[in-house]
């Protein structure tokens, strides 16, 4: 399977199932790539896989694709691949790949189950942009017969917030769209803030759609709890010290990175929220404080 086929497969996955996380689609494509790979040695196989991951990162520059790909690679090569026969090794790797895929497909459900208990009856929730995990959490809470209202920010430049409002409307949850600039104004009315994440970094901070950092600072000033919901395959081995320290390849969309010369003229699509502003993180590994994220990462990666 060559690179173009891989990208086609990836795009097809996203088209067929718009609800799937981009990282899950990427991992499915990587698994398919692994199955069809023709290399003769384990080393060659690993090299091809790494190249494939890079190719996918070029297509979709979100942090989750990068972290998901790396975790996938680690997970399948974690076993002892000591069979003399290459095809046997490959079968073991494919098996583990399927296992990994199954696990992460269930993670969104797990997160939803964990988090919805934190939403009390009559709560007013603020969220940012469009996150499928947050949607799942609110879905679970609504199914639990809780009454709550949701405020969603518009989240320019792609107006993702309006899509979120539509989806929530279909679930019969009362929702209101607010301007990005109105976050400070609305903060005194809300009880809690829940956002998703594109990536969770080593310090326990999160990388998410631009505007999240502002919301976090505001909620800290008003002493409102700021919750982040994310699956565990989004944990990534980055450690940004400030906004500038986030690598450029995550900040901008993939096609902009390729075409534009001077990135200073472009607006970044994501920002970094430091761990001091986050109250709790809900993941499929459990409910974590930001300092526990490093603990989990050490366990995952070391």
């Amino acid at each position: 399977m060559n690179k173009n086929n891989l990208v086609e497969y990836f795009r097809a996955q996203i088209r067929e199932d718009p609800d799937v996380a981009s990282a899950v689609a990427a991992i499915r494509s990587l698994l398919e790539f692994l199955k069809r790979d023709q290399s003769e040695t384990i080393l060659g196989l690993r090299e091809n896989m790494t190249k494939a991951i890079h190719r996918l990162e070029e297509t979709d520059s979100s942090v989750a694709v990068s972290s998901g790909g790396e975790l996938f690679l680690r997970f399948i090569s974690l076993t002892s691949l000591e069979h003399p026969d290459l095809s046997q090794c490959k079968n073991v790797m494919i098996e583990r790949g399927e296992l990994f895929l199954k696990k992460i497909s269930l993670s969104r459900g797990k997160v939803g189950k964990l988090c919805h208990t934190f939403i009390k009856d009559g709560a007013k929730i603020l969220t940012h942009s469009s996150s499928r995990v947050v949607l799942k959490v609110l879905e679970n809470a609504a199914a639990d017969n809780k009454r709550f209202t949701v405020y969603v920010t518009e989240s320019q430049p792609d107006s993702a917030g309006k899509h979120m409002a539509q989806k929530l409307g279909k679930l019969n949850i009362p929702v209101m769209v607010v301007l990005d600039a109105a976050v400070g104004y609305i903060m005194e009315k809300v009880d809690l803030v829940i956002v998703g994440a594109e990536g969770v970094v080593e310090s326990g901070g999160v990388i998410n759609k631009i505007g999240t950092y502002q919301m976090a600072v505001c909620s800290k000033a008003h002493n409102k709890p700021f919750y982040v919901v994310s699956e565990s395959f989004k944990f990534v081995r980055l450690y940004p010290l400030n906004q500038q320290d986030v690598p450029d390849r995550f900040k901008y969309k993939a096609d902009i990175l390729k075409t534009v010369k001077d990135l200073n003229q472009e607006h970044p699509m994501i920002d970094y929220t430091p761990p001091s502003l986050i109250t709790l993180l809900f993941t499929d590994l459990g409910v974590l404080t930001p300092s526990a994220v490093s603990d989990e990462l050490i366990k995952l990666y070391l």
Binding site: S203, R237, Y239, L241, N242, Q244, D245, S291, S294
Partner: protein
Amino acid sequence: MADSDGRQVVSINHSTEEDVKLQEVVQAKCEGKELTKEEKQRLRKEKKQHKKNKKDDRGPPEKEKEKEKASVLAPSKPATQSPAHKAAPVPVNASASESPVAAEKPAKSKAEQRAERRARQDTERASKQGKKEGGQQSASSKPKATPNELQPVKRLPEHIQVDDPAALKKLAKKLERQQVPLRSDYGYKVSLFSHLHQYSRKNPPTQQISIPATVIHPSIVRLGLQYSQGIIAGSNARSVALLHAFKQVIQDYSTPPNEELSRDLVNKLSPYISFLSQCRPLSASMGNAIKYIKKEISNIPSQCKEEEAKRRLQECIDSYINEKIILASEAISKYAIEKISDGDVILVYGCSSLVNHILCEAFEKQRKFRVIVVDSRPRLEGREALRRLVKKGIRCTYVLISALSYILPEVSKVFLGAHALLANGYVMSRVGTSQIALVAKAYNVPVLVCCETYKFCERVQTDSFESNELDDPDDLIVTRNGKTHLENWQTVKSLGLLNLVYDVTPPDFVDLVITDLGMIPCTSVPVVLRVKNVDQ
């Protein structure tokens, strides 16, 4: 005093005979010969006799006993004895003679004395098993103590219990047993830090050792002198020097007959370690290195030949230095260079070998940055760092720590070295580091601490008072314009000079810790310790 004159004479006669024997033993010690087992036993018996005599003849002038006790405690005292040391035996003796009321009756019959002695020994044994160091004062070391052995209490290390006379007495006894000279404290200590040692550089412990020293290996004596004079300073340098000295010791070691290398060598190392901690308190990195060596030595199988065992130990030490220090610094540089971007203005404090290495590597990899070196008195270590960086060709600025808030708005990152990382995430480093971290936090400048994992220790500390090091107070004396104002500081009774060496930085001020395992937040130190313990 008149009626006790007779008794006084008796006691003096009594003691002179034993005194003679003692003097012989003391002389032997002075000559640096190792005491044979019989001599050691005799010494022990004499001391017990002394104690018994003191209790039986109650009321002999304390001064006499004091002198004898003093001579027993520190065999080779130089003439220039500081008053502080004399003071120590006085409270010890005061406590000894204050001993329980039962012993106050004069002229007891022999049988009663024997019974009493037996009872005393029993209770002493019982109290020894449930011994608690810090809380013990006069009565508890004596028989009437109610031993609280119910819960095992952690012992406080000796070097932070200097104001506790019982602990001092214990240390003196231990050092005497190991034939290591006891170093005396110097000058008036500020009361908040009176629980720490304060030594003078003009009075090194090596003066009290005769040449050739047969008890302590000469390379250890040399190392001790280098530590106490400040010739070798810096956590990595001290650990490496220690390991090299131990390599020499192992090379020259030969197993005595009927002894096993794995046990005897460890016992041989204990007096050396006591001596080194008298010269300068051990650092956390040195402590970990010593633990590692002791473990390796005791893991040598008994059927291993001596040559083979020695070779194996040398290899272990070499690989420890290589892995934990040299390769670790390579790994840390690799991670740290990712954090240095072009156009950065980096602030460093003092002279950390690791931080200097990182900056030199980054410069070689063509990163464009400039460095601001912050320095402080009295050590002025920043000058050494400045020298090394300028030699490489890095653009540097030099300021004193008082100009910190002036220079910080220009700074983009702060790189700090560490002496040790404590289990609760606090960073122990050169005094002034926590100040830099605090001001950097106020200006929102990221603070990065670079530390190898062998410096992580299980201790917990939240302030800089509990466990620290006091350097020579005379270092603070400076001559400006021909005038030395603090020259006679000892004559002013209410004046104390404080020369602290370390301070402790809370984890809220530190943004990132770079270790050879990767980049971790300050709160993850116990996780790394846990992972390391599992590995071992």
